[in-house]
Subunit: 574 residues, 2 copies
């Protein structure tokens, strides 16, 4: 077997390591800023690719990320594998059964929400192709079809994540949006696959194009009916007769690879096969949460960052940046989607406010648009200039989704106690043995930053404590008060080895005392913080870990150990 030289292996490992590390660090930063991780991951590629690193130190960049030769070939193969597995995960998130049950409203939103932007996109690309970034020599029909499709897809993962962040995922509104996005996703990919088929091995020969399209539709139909049924039957067998969790894991991955090979053979792209296998397998109630999560974590935190960062290696974002085109695409894309989804929602009987919310929710393009653009670029349907505009449009619409939904619905992100803690408000060893003493220590700590008057706060909390005790059981107490003139909530945490009596219903002394001070005019803050504390510490393992923490960092790490599905990783990358 042909193999890489010593030097090639070293370059491959360093470049993979650098891509992964930079992509993940920037992805994390993006998330701190309440943006989708993909924004940071794309930026990582722009930094490491020709746009920045290549402009500053072209030799170094060329040595580390060669654009031809064996290392480039291996990286190319690896990113193809990465995107294939990413689409498997994206497919697994498509919950067809639930989408189906949402009935006509979701269907109306999906259909009108695709048809309108498709029509607008097609019309624009057909009538003023130059303004839409067409390149010389492009086939007008294929270009217009692609452009229309590009404007009409939505990104399910980023939409799901936005809704989870706002606690809307399980609401009626959220289910309509997600279900419409599911249908939208599925149809959008099929249409794109067909367009890709028109460019495939038989380009120009109508009979072969027809064969490709028929095969594509047949494959999709088979996977969504017989394939789905078979997988649902097969999963319990695999789980019963193979080692857990490895059997199902390998089963899903091998199937995705075969499905991908199948669509690649048909003449469209590998990712469609993986996506359809994902849909078929993800729909089965026999697929366990843990299997889903293992695939998900590895794909979201290893393969996906590698893939998205590698995009920046291929394209020079500075050289291909065309501000007019970016703006045009952005306006046409937003207008089409808002109008389409808004009309669909209104037709489905939703209020005007909810219709706007649906429009902004569905407007997010996220990772899906980027993948679509990349495939079109590779297939020669578009050039770098339009690709860059599509990527930027995808990022901007994804970043706008959350804030616009909040604005339209007047919702805030639920507050987390982590946001209100600080090292100086963390007291690992309370000296007091009575509630009054503990409250004094904690109010002193809470007000040490100068945000409040410690004595007044202590009085207020103590007065509150005497009307009703704040031990909530399991060794936790939450003395609290609302203070006038406080800018934002303040939380202080204290630990007591011996325990302090806060008259809890279970009689347990408190080992973990949260002092919660909230602005008097902020109605929701206290309740939100209290319910978060209650929710967090229902988990005994977390409670134990939190009680053993000796620094704020350890304490925050303990809080983080959430059951991973809550707002979980499956929705975090795109």
């Amino acid at each position: 077997m042909e193999s890489l030289s010593h030097h090639d292996v070293a370059v491959m490992l360093v470049s993979l390591g650098a891509l992964l590390a930079v992509a993940r660090v920037l992805g994390e930063i993006a998330q701190w800023l309440h943006q989708p991780a993909v924004v940071g991951e794309i930026l990582a590629g722009i930094l490491l690719g020709p746009t920045v690193f290549g402009a500053l130190a072209p030799e170094w960049q060329g040595a580390l990320f060669p654009s031809s030769g064996p290392v480039a070939l291996v990286l190319g193969g690896l990113t193809t594998l990465a995107i294939t597995l990413f689409l498997l995960v994206a497919g697994m998130e498509v919950d067809l059964s639930t989408a189906w049950k949402q009935g006509t409203t979701a269907l109306k939103v999906a259909v009108v929400g695709m048809a309108v932007p498709f029509a607008i996109g097609f019309a624009a690309a057909w009538t003023v192709p130059r303004a839409m970034g067409v390149h010389a020599g492009a086939d007008p029909l294929i270009f217009s079809l692609f452009f229309a499709t590009a404007l009409s897809i939505s990104a399910l993962p980023v939409i799901a994540k936005t809704l989870m962040d706002l606690n809307l995922y399980r609401s009626d509104l959220g289910m309509v949006i997600v279900s419409a996005a599911v249908i939208n996703d599925l149809v959008g990919w099929l249409v794109f696959a067909i367009i890709l088929g028109m460019l495939g091995p038989g380009a120009g020969q109508e009979a072969r194009i027809a064969v490709t399209i028929v095969l594509t539709l047949a494959f999709a139909a088979t996977m969504l009916t017989a394939g789905r049924w078979l997988l649902h039957r097969a999963l319990p067998y695999v789980q019963a007769h193979t080692r857990w969790p490895g059997g199902v894991l390998s089963f899903a991955l091998a199937l995705a690879l075969f499905g991908a090979a199948c669509t690649e053979w048909i003449g469209i792209h590998a990712i469609f096969g993986a996506f359809l296998v994902g849909v078929a397998i993800g729909d089965s109630s026999h697929l366990r949460e843990q299997t889903r999560m293992t695939i998900d974590s590895f794909v979201s935190f290893f393969f996906a960052p590698l893939f998205f960062a590698s995009i920046g290696l291929r394209v020079d974002f500075a050289a291909s940046f065309d501000a007019t085109l970016v703006l045009t695409i952005l306006v046409v894309a937003c207008a089409g989607k808002l109008l389409g989804c808004g009309l669909g929602a209104a037709w489905g009987g939703m209020s005007r406010r909810d219709a706007w919310a649906v429009g902004f929710g569905m407007n997010a393009r996220g990772a899906m648009e980027i993948i679509l653009g990349l495939l079109a670029l590779e297939a020669g349907m578009i050039r770098e200039r339009l690709f860059v505009a599509l990527v930027l449009m995808a990022l901007v619409t994804s970043m706008l989704g959350g804030p616009m939904l909040q604005f339209v619905l007047g919702r805030r992100k639920p507050r987390r106690i982590g946001d209100f803690l600080a090292a100086r408000r963390f007291v690992p060893r309370l000296e007091g043995t009575t509630g009054r003493e503990a409250i004094r220590e904690l109010t002193t700590a809470a007000c040490s930053g100068g945000h409040c008057d410690a004595a007044a706060a202590e009085e207020a909390v103590w007065a509150r404590e005497q009307t009703m005790h704040t031990g909530i059981g399991d060794g936790i107490a939450v003395p609290r008060a609302r203070l006038a003139g406080l800018g934002a909530p303040l939380v202080a945490v204290g630990m007591s080895e011996a325990g302090i009596d806060f008259d809890a219903p279970d009689g347990e002394p408190a080992h973990l005392v949260f002092l919660v001070l909230t602005p008097v005019e902020d109605d929701g803050a206290q309740l939100e913080i209290l319910s978060e504390i209650a929710r967090l510490f229902r988990d005994r393992a977390r409670l134990e870990r939190a009680r053993r923490a000796r620094t704020l960092t350890e304490f925050l790490a303990a809080l983080k150990s959430e059951p991973p599905r809550a707002g979980g990783p499956e929705a975090e990358t795109a």
Copy 2:
């Protein structure tokens, strides 16, 4: 960026899919036969490679697994990545702190257990190199050093798995074996790295060899001291300030890639860096079980099977098979290890029986030997003929480990109720409403295969039931009896929606009734089965799932959903 053609991508996906699927199916079969998975994975490669598939249909084999060109290059890069990540996991299993605490016995076993086979191996390779499979033109010193190292390593993962299977992992004997294997592993890899350095970029130039060796030792020393300390400090920060579980996951993977690149750059192989990063990170108590498990599952069930199967693609096992050499290597290897470890154990004050057990335990070579052999083959230290002999020796010693330990210690594998169930002994809907009726239905089901007399069994169980009721609480009852003339234990399971009173301590009627019939002369069987039932259903989620099962397959699948660390995946591949 250079990229693969449509056709190349399809070939790559199919060959990856085929390697993964065949390797995992054969790996599962190997495990059913109580053999390490790696046996099946290697066999998969032999089937798909030139040895079998290539001999039967050379064109097809060449088309699917090309030995040169872009696809071969990508597969080569991917297997390098796979082995790097596999060694990260292997390193994470090395628990230095625990090994250290085992004190002198483990150290004596490790030192003598390496020194003796090393000496025997070196002497044999130096005096009769032809018999040991040397090839023309090999450097006698390097060959002898390699051969000696190859005979003196042990395979920690396969040893750990064997001990877990026999419930010996946490015993004193088990801890000595595991700790000795840990030290053995670490020293063995270092010695091999140094030998590899002697062949590295500066081969023949003594000054450069010295630099390589010094750098290797410096890297190892740094990782095991400062690196370990730093990682232990850094992990809580990463966990506190990044998304869970992705932050730590990417952190560990990126570090492994950088460590690997580092050792590749030094001139030894990438895997050493990944291994040492694994040791450093795995030793930290801040590394959470879930992170470990996610990396582990993905590596054990995706990357490792790909890697081990790919070995068979490179080497024709039939053409390079030399029976005399295989036998010679096997005898020399076993003799050296048994003698060395046995002497070490005796020196450490262990009984003769335990000393033999240590010897047979440590004798397993598993995946580690295969990796070592492959690197030596790639570096030109050995040729295919010896490589095949080493692989077969590794497989045979791994397969012998479990049975020989059982033989020496007189231990049996603990029996699992799954082994005694059958579809005809699964009664999804008990008709009876009293204990007597349920026992009648279940004894009828249990004896339906003709293994026992239903009426006699019913009488025996009912008599037993009247002396002491068998409801054990949580809605479970375990009526049972010992029967004369039964060849092996029989278990029947019945479910009752309404519940049947078996006088459980918690007063709950039984919804899940296990009828356990064991041979009268088999002392342990009943107790083992009872304690397994009790252990399994302490987990409420599993109990719920088991109660909802309507077929034996679903029921077995429910039992399988174990907390994954128990005999867990981390030890299953090698």
